[in-house]
């Protein structure tokens, strides 16, 4: 509403302005074109009228800038009387903010420049400012002719226009927004319409459902009718039941009386209860007291817990220390690895040492032979001793000879001692040997076994491709390896003789019986007959004795003419503190010069092809007999037979 008034005001203002401008233009154009009217106008009165009539402010100033003449419009627009204006001067009415530019313009004007369309504000007497648009010209004599239009209203109108334009734009924006909202609402309406359609479909569906329910209701009603019939029946039954209840009521009254009695009993019990409650009160007080005690315990627990916390901290410290310790352990395990490597090197050194030991073994072999020689010498010396002793009894005068012989005996004893020393060294060396002997024999046997096994495989798998010669060769190889294997075995047995056994009581008859049964096969093939006499029970090295008998008996069976049946006789006889055993055969016999030699190791009297034998056996036997502190010797006739004698001392366990 304000807007429309303002726009009307603006319109009116604009119209006035235009009208005034038109007037001015008319006047000025008349002035320019000249004419009679112009003359008239230029006459004083008309000029004065024109001056005063002009709606614009007109001011004439003298060269000093003082007001020479002003028109009525000045007074009306500015609101002052002529006297007042001439008093105060126009300059004082300039708006403070426009003073600077007005000053500049005036200077221009005084220089003689034309001023046009200069806008500045002048204060009206009522205090408001009028916006004036000045035109000014300074003529030759220094007078300035200036006129100005009051464009205040125009400004206001322009401002209002701008403002209204802005408002219009805002409305336009608001309209846009409103339109968008409308569009959106329309879309929403469409959605609602769709939802409505769905809702209507659901309603239709529900109507159908309702109709179904209605049908079901009808059925239900029929059931209800049926049930009401049933109810009538029940009602009849109820009457019957009620009569029964009356009967029960009578019973109830009876029970009530009983209850009365029970209640009295309950009263008595209540009295009891009060007594109990009093007791309870006392108990509660006790509980309270215990609770206080508990509190104290709880406080103590707190303290204990704090201590535990403290100990936990301590544990953590230990744990840290452990971590450090573990790191040290790791370091040490690294060190261990280094040690292990060093151990490897040490092991290799040990291997080298082992080689050296083997060399010593050979040397020891030689030492053993020396010892045997010494043993024989000892025996000779012992025999001589006997003779010397007998001579002493009969020849006391021959002390010097005895003395010499004693010296010899001493020498012999020295030799004996030497022998003992050697024997000790030997036993030490033997112990070393023993350790290696099992391993060595095992390691030596293995490749031999491999060889003989592969030969066997060869013979079996390739027998078709091998001719007789080839097979003979293979067979020779096989026999050689077998022989070597036996040799190693015998060497082993020989070397470890007596190490692991203890003396035990042995029934020799049983022992011999076992040996014979072991040799059963050999006996059968040869058709041998063995005659065993009474045998004692002695403390013996059982395994070794078994081996001894086995060796001697198998020899008896073996060293026999081809077509002769072996006859073997085994006897035992007690002589002083020894038992004298004999094994006699009817074999090929042994020549006397070999009686000693046969007991030497590896000494075989027959070529290998005639009688199989490793040559170790009798040396073995001798060693076994010596183990029992006995002796072994032979009596034999070539071609007739041989008897082996050996003595076994009565040893104590």
């Amino acid at each position: 509403m304000n807007k429309s008034k303002e726009s009307e005001r603006t319109k009116r203002a604009k119209k006035e302005l235009l009208f005034r401008r038109k007037e001015l233009v008319q006047i000025i154009s008349q002035m320019i074109t000249g004419g009679e009217e112009l003359d008239l106008i230029l006459s004083g009165e008309r000029l004065d009228d024109f001056f005063d009539l002009s709606p614009s402010l007109m001011v004439i100033t003298n060269p000093k800038g003082e007001i020479f003449k002003i028109n009525k419009s000045c007074l009306t627009i500015l609101g002052y009387t002529q006297k007042e204006i001439l008093n105060i001067g126009l300059w004082s009415l300039v708006h403070p903010d426009d003073i600077d530019k007005t000053t500049a313009v005036i200077e221009k004007q005084l220089r003689g420049d034309e001023i046009s369309n200069f806008i500045t504000r002048y204060k009206n007497k009522d205090g408001t400012y009028r916006i004036l648009e000045w035109q000014a010209t300074t003529v030759k004599d220094g007078f300035t002719y200036a006129y100005a239009n009051d464009i205040t209203n125009r400004n206001i109108a322009m401002k209002e226009l701008l403002f209204q334009n802005e408002e219009k734009e805002k409305r336009a924006d608001e309209l846009d927004i409103a339109n968008k909202e409308l569009l959106f609402e329309q879309k929403e309406k469409v959605k609602r319409a769709e939802e409505l359609a769905l809702a209507i479909k659901e309603l239709l569906f529900q109507k159908e459902e309702k109709e179904k329910k209605a049908d079901e209701l009808i059925i239900a009603n029929k059931e209800i009718q049926f049930q009401s019939v049933e109810k009538v029946k029940r009602a009849d039954e109820l009457e019957i039941a009620n009569k029964e209840i009356e009967l029960l009521d009578e019973e109830k009254e009876q029970r009530i009386t009983k209850l009365g009695k029970a209640n009295k009993e309950i009263e008595l019990l209540d009295e009891e209860k009060t007594k109990r409650t009093d007791e309870l009160a006392i108990a509660i007080k006790e509980l309270l007291f215990q609770n206080e005690e508990k509190q104290k315990r709880a406080d103590e627990l707190d303290i204990a817990n704090k201590e535990i916390l403290y100990q936990k901290e301590e544990k953590e410290k230990r744990a840290d220390e452990l971590i450090i310790a573990n790191r040290e352990l790791e370091f040490q395990s690294v060190e261990k690895v280094k040690r292990a490597d060093e151990l490897d090197i040490a092991n290799k050194e040990i291997e080298l040492l082992d080689e050296e030991k083997e060399k010593r073994i050979t040397r020891l072999g030689k030492a053993n032979k020396e010892i045997e020689l010494l043993d024989e010498e000892k025996q000779k010396r012992a025999a001589e001793l006997d003779i010397a002793k007998k001579e002493l009894v009969f020849q006391k005068n021959e002390k010097e000879k005895r003395a010499d012989e004693l010296i010899i005996i001493k020498d012999d004893l020295d030799i004996l001692r030497e022998k003992e020393m050697l024997a000790i060294k030997l036993s030490v060396a033997n112990k070393e040997l023993e350790q290696f002997s099992y391993l060595a024999s095992h390691d030596l046997q293995e490749p031999l076994r491999t060889i003989s096994n592969y030969i066997k495989v060869f013979e079996e798998d390739y027998s078709e491709n091998l001719d007789e010669t080839a097979q003979k060769y293979l067979s020779s190889v096989n026999m050689a390896t077998t022989r070597m294997s036996q040799l190693i075995q015998s060497l082993l047995e020989y070397s470890i003789l007596g190490r692991h056994t203890d003396l035990i009581s042995v029934n020799c008859a049983q022992l011999v019986g076992n040996v014979i049964s072991d040799l059963n096969q050999l006996m059968k093939t040869s058709g041998a007959i063995i005659d065993v006499g009474d045998m004692p029970t002695l403390n013996l090295y059982e395994i070794e004795m078994h081996a001894l008998f086995q060796n001697l008996i198998s020899n008896a069976l073996k060293f026999q003419e081809k077509n002769r049946k072996p006859k073997i006789k085994i006897r035992a006889e007690e002589i002083d503190d020894v038992w004298n055993f004999s094994i006699s055969d009817n074999g090929i016999g042994i020549e006397p010069q070999y009686f000693e030699r046969v007991f030497q190791i590896f000494q075989s009297l027959n070529t290998r092809s005639e009688y199989e034998g490793t040559g170790i056996g009798l040396a073995y036997c001798k060693k076994i007999v010596q183990l029992h502190s006995g002796e072994i010797w032979i009596e034999s006739t070539v071609g007739k037979g041989t008897t082996f004698y050996f003595t076994i001392h009565k040893l104590t366990i």
């Binding site: 293995e446 592969y454 082993l492």
Partner: protein
């Protein structure tokens, strides 16, 4: 099952076994460890349990004795089928006695395994 680290011996012995009865399945293991693994692995499969184990004493790594100690710890149902025979080069009587201390060792024989020995064992234990 043959437990022996010597391939040649396993080869020969398998041959000998097959000569006695070609239908016998022979499994060779080159160490005590491998043998134990095999037994444990085939716990469920009864038909793969060995009926007869020939065990060498001297083997690299786990030797025959160590194998027996571990074997002793196996469950009964793994053990129960097998007859164990020590088959070794060692003629050391100490080894023989040690073998007898294990009550599930049936025999102690020295190599090589021959058909004769096999027949003896089979008549002794399987018939």
């Amino acid at each position: 099952m043959l437990v022996d680290d010597n391939e040649h011996d396993n080869f020969f012995h398998e041959r000998e076994i097959k000569k006695v009865d070609a239908s016998i399945d022979v499994v060779s293991k080159k160490s005590g460890n491998e043998a134990l693994e095999y037994l444990k692995l085939n716990q469920e499969k009864e038909n793969l349990h060995p009926d007869l184990i020939f065990l060498d004493i001297n083997m690299h790594g786990m030797n025959g004795w160590e194998f027996l100690e571990h074997y002793n710890l196996l469950t009964r149902d793994v053990q129960s089928h097998a007859i164990i025979v020590m088959l070794t080069t060692s003629s050391n009587p100490a080894d023989n006695k040690r073998a007898q201390s294990f009550n599930f060792i049936s025999d102690y024989i020295t190599k090589p395994l021959t058909q004769e020995i096999l027949i003896n064992i089979s008549t002794k234990h399987f018939k």
